[in-house]
């Protein structure tokens, strides 16, 4: 199966409750597995009914996250990202 490459949207959070860390925003990785659906925490946090969203575990290389500053470029990091924070990376 082909690797699915995704990019975390490079958007701001404006002080609101969001579960997408800044260090991953704008970074590209591959989908490790698909999870969910899980309720959107950005709605739950404000006491709202929450939409169920797919969640993706995305694997990033340290080279992608930290560039030349990476401690070891081939080390990796995985995180769960809600679907609305991801876009296909093919366009890049």
């Amino acid at each position: 199966m082909a690797e699915e490459r995704v990019r975390v949207k490079a958007l701001g959070t404006w002080g609101l409750h969001v579960r997408t860390p800044a260090y991953l925003r704008g970074k590209t990785g591959i989908v490790e597995r698909r999870l969910g659906p899980y309720p959107n925490p950005e709605q739950l946090a404000y006491g709202l009914k929450a939409e169920a969203l797919p969640v993706f575990r995305v694997r990033f290389t340290m080279a992608e996250l930290w560039g030349a500053q990476a401690e070891n470029p081939d080390d990796t990091l995985e995180a769960e990202i809600y679907a609305h924070w991801l876009e296909p990376a093919d366009a890049a």
Binding site: R19, P21, Y23, N72, D75, T76, L77, A79, E80, I81
Partner: protein, 215 residues
Amino acid sequence: MPHDDPFEHTGMSPSGHPYRPDQDGPLTRFQAMEIAIRELLIEKGVTTEAEIAAAIAYMDTRSPAGGARVVARAWTDPEFRARLLADGSAAVLEMGFPIEALKLIVVENTPRLHNVVVCTLCSCYPRNLLGLPPDWYKQRAYRSRVVREPRRVLAEFGLTLPEGIQVRVHDSTADQRYIVLPMRPEGTEGWSEEDLAALVTRDCMIGVAVPRRPQ
């Protein structure tokens, strides 16, 4: 039994750690607030003394020993190991761990890969399997640094990894919780599950240590 009596909290704890120094000091506003909230919730019929005591007793039964039993079982039972890696929640439920809110992913160390777990945004931790997290897991230094310089952080914990091993950091950003399935130490062939479990510390399951056979 540790914590046999929830009202006796003086001196050193059963695990040999000191209790918080403010435990016996003057009442803090936060302690007063805990008392006030508890009494209001009871008066309003939201909860009861018994329900609160049961919740505390339940968390007191959660400890790294639970996770260690799971790891030892995975080391000795290949079919269980396969189930644990495929669906962590279902596999630990087999062992009697009630896991209501816990969606567990088990990540396996190999000779080529070392896993380590963090929550950079808050303090997500597999508390139903390992108990409450250590202080350092919730503090700024670990949360900030382990995603950027995991090898230096692991070295601070006394774990130096060769270049040939990939380090993989797991940031618990959403609904899953993580434990590391460490490698079984060499020279433990034929050991009982109980003896193997004794080698598996909490830090091994967070990924900042590896189990070692006693010399």
